[in-house]
């Protein structure tokens, strides 16, 4: 029994490469209509995770998706359909975010995705306005004695494969001439376990996720953050290039939660505000006076539904990351500009 036919296969390989050269294309943009596809399908396909990435994407004890990013997926589904029953969360790994988006397995990536030039230009991806900023930082055990980058000379660093932190960290240590061994993993759990098992001297991570990872250590006080942050990374939703209307919808979905917070509208009091709008912005936001829906191809009460069912940006933060969650992290830069943060709602006119 011969294992493999020796002569035929090279022919196939040659054929494959020939086919590849046939499909080479020149760039030409074409407007896709994601909203129409989503409506026809009757469901929104949003990015999940193959495991958990607390506090952004995780699985609760009763088998439901939850988390900060998942709440924004829900908000988008509510904006389109009026209910989050039509949301389908598709589990994907870090490295499969963009291929899945390109292939149409998901409509939008809302998954702690940093806005980088490479992704923006090379991957055929378009980003929304940033909805979260977080520092990329490095966590290390206190027993190393110091928290300066130089402490890690010759040590090792764990990272998630295919993420922007992977590139940031490689560049950061190279620019300082610090030799470091980088070990990358496909799943967030593997990365975290490798650090706690002592495989790596340090763990590069992003924003609240790193803080949560630290809290999940057996003794959180044994671990400290490096005294220099690698970068402050803006996180945006990612969509396929060439569908401006879809980008508008996602942008204004974020904006609606911010405008609601700025005007003190919460899921609890949204009905009162709708009955007695304080000013014309609130009127427009809640669909009392028309305009907010039609311009995006949605119904006029979409923002009202989002606030009623998911809440404003403060509620979403508190529920998943802040005071009402088990993590109890400070909102910091992710507060509205009026509270000392960097989030600036766009103008609703």
């Amino acid at each position: 029994m011969s294992v493999i036919n020796n002569r035929l296969i090279p022919t196939v390989v040659a054929g494959c490469f020939a086919a590849l050269s046939l499909v080479s294309t020149s760039a030409s943009a074409e407007n896709g209509d994601t909203l129409k596809a989503v409506n026809d399908r009757g469901s929104l396909l949003c990015s999940g995770h193959n495991g958990s990435f607390p506090p952004f994407v995780q699985v609760t004890d009763d088998n439901e998706w939850s988390g900060y990013d998942i709440d924004y997926c829900r908000a988008l589904a509510v904006a389109i359909f009026g209910s989050d029953d039509n949301l389908k969360v598709v589990p994907i790994s870090w490295a499969q975010r963009f291929p899945s988006l390109q292939s149409g397995d998901i409509d939008v990536v809302i998954k702690a995705t940093g806005w980088t030039m490479g992704r923006d230009t090379e991957l055929g991806i378009q980003f929304s306005v940033p909805y979260f900023v977080g520092a990329t930082n490095v966590m290390m055990p206190k027993e190393l004695g110091s928290t300066s980058p130089e402490t890690l000379e010759g040590g090792s660093l764990c990272a998630n494969a295919g993420t922007s932190t992977e590139r940031l960290a490689a560049n950061f240590f190279k620019s300082r001439g610090i030799e470091i061994e980088m070990i990358t993993f496909e799943k967030s759990e593997e990365t975290r376990d490798a650090y706690f098992a002592g495989r790596c001297d340090s763990l590069v991570g992003w924003g609240p996720n790193l803080a949560v990872t630290r809290q999940s250590a057996e003794n959180p006080d044994d671990h400290a953050m490096m005294d220099v942050a690698l970068a402050l990374e803006p996180e945006s939703a990612a969509m396929r290039q060439g569908d401006d209307n879809w980008v508008d919808i996602v942008n204004w979905m974020f904006a609606a939660t911010w405008i609601a917070e700025a005007n003190g509208i919460t899921s609890a009091n949204v009905d009162e505000h709708k009955a007695n709008p304080a000013d014309s912005t609130v009127e427009k936001l809640l669909g009392v006076s028309p305009g907010i829906g039609e311009r995006l191809g949605l119904s006029d009460d979409w923002a009202y539904n989002v606030i009623k069912q998911v809440g404003n940006s403060a509620e979403i933060f508190d529920r998943n990351i802040g005071g009402e969650s088990v993590y109890k992290l400070d909102r910091g830069l992710n507060a509205l500009w009026s509270d000392g943060g960097v989030i600036v709602p766009m103008i609703l006119d």
């Binding site: 590849l20 499969q96 055929g124």
Partner: protein, 385 residues
């Protein structure tokens, strides 16, 4: 009668032509469709990205590299890493397999029972789970500061196994290995050519004396100037510096593949050993051979000939199994391609390279093993398992 035959021939040819054109049409349709969907998303294709620098780092490499190296070099490193992992895993699996095969055919009931337990445990749990398990064991080893050491020269810690190496250039090592392989292939050829004459044994003896001398000479010439002969690992800061290193990712995978493959190869070897006719062994006894010689001269050679095709199959399987390296963070070809896809977006091209890489590796294994098989096969003497 003739016209009927002619008719059927014509029908067959027409039928085949139709099938062929349908397949061709399908393929062309797929190409057109791909083109259209790429255009719709304004994605560009082509292999130009291979020369761009990657900007990301990975854990293990057999060649020196930096984050400003190009995609093509990074992919080549992934390919070499896969080869190294496959080579180590398959070699160890073969050794374990032969031991297990022997143990399982042993007359001692306890031994054969242990062999069975081994095979059943390691064959019936998915390799991916075994790899994760060994990785968590290997990383539980002590930190570098309290590493287990052997005479202060070999260190074992959660960061891997460090051992001393000679301070000589890479090219000379490759040259030495080539020389040894050439000599080992030259011997049987010469034996065949000179038909076991006494001058052959003379050449053989001289060769065995000269070979080590030549190797030492090459090593001496290729020494890195101004360094001690041995490059010893030593603790510096957070980790060891110097020496040669086997990182835990690689160790865990090699252990997993060796134990898993060992169970399968053990079964193949067992089938081979049991296929050796009793008469052959008895003939050995009658001729006054010692038990060890009966094993090494009669049973093993016959067994190996009998199972070589099955063994080839197992090797190809194990080579393919190396793709699970990604679950423990080993930068094998699949992991490098997967990361490249995510960082560069050139999905189609990179997957074509991945497939091409594995076709090349597996075809080479099949080719080498098939040629060996042809050389040593005894006609009509083969078992399948």
């Amino acid at each position: 009668m003739g016209s009927v035959l002619g008719n059927q021939k014509t029908r067959e040819i027409v039928f085949q032509a139709v099938v062929l054109s349908v397949v061709a049409a399908l393929l062309i349709g797929m190409v057109m469709n791909t083109r259209a969907s790429l255009e719709a998303q304004s994605l560009t294709t082509g292999f130009g990205f291979l020369e761009r620098s990657t900007g990301w780092d990975f854990s293990f490499s057999v060649l020196p590299y930096s984050i400003s190296d190009s995609y093509s070099k990074t992919i080549l490193i992934g390919f070499l890493n896969t080869l190294l992992l496959g080579f180590l895993g398959i070699s160890l699996a073969t050794i374990i397999g032969v031991i297990i095969g022997l143990v399982r055919t042993s007359k001692n009931a306890l031994f054969s029972m242990l062999g069975t337990v081994y095979v059943e445990i390691f064959r019936n749990v998915p390799l991916i789970l075994q790899a994760i398990f060994w990785y968590s064991i290997v990383t539980q080893l002590p930190r570098p500061k309290s590493a287990l050491s052997l005479g202060d020269s070999v260190f074992l810690s959660g960061r891997g196994l460090y051992f001393p190496v000679l301070n000589i250039a890479m090219w000379s090592v490759a040259l030495m290995i080539l020389l040894i392989i050439a000599w080992l292939f030259f011997l049987p050829w010469l034996r065949h050519k000179m038909n076991h004459s006494s001058s052959f044994f003379l050449i053989k003896r001289i060769g065995w004396i000269l070979l080590p001398l030549i190797l030492v000479l090459i090593g001496y010439l290729a020494r890195t100037p101004d360094t001690p002969l041995l490059n010893m690992p030593a603790l510096k800061g957070l980790n060891f510096k110097g020496g040669m290193r086997m990182p835990p990712e690689l160790s865990a995978l090699v252990i997993a593949i060796a134990l898993y493959g060992g169970a399968y190869i053990g079964e193949v070897v067992r089938a081979g050993l049991m296929s050796v006719p009793k008469g052959q062994i008895e003939a050995g006894f009658v001729n006054g051979l010692k038990p060890l010689h009966i094993f090494s001269r009669i049973r093993l050679p016959l067994a190996i000939r009998a199972v070589l095709p099955s063994l080839t199959n197992q090797y190809v399987q194990l080579m393919k199994a190396t793709t699970i390296g990604i679950v423990v963070g080993f930068s094998d070809l699949f992991m490098i391609i997967s990361t490249s896809i995510n960082q560069s977006g050139q999905t189609l091209e990179l997957l074509a390279i991945l497939m091409g890489g594995f076709l090349v590796i597996n075809l080479s294994i099949a080719f080498v093993m098939n040629s060996i098989n042809k050389k040593i096969a005894i006609k009509g003497y083969e078992v399948k398992s």
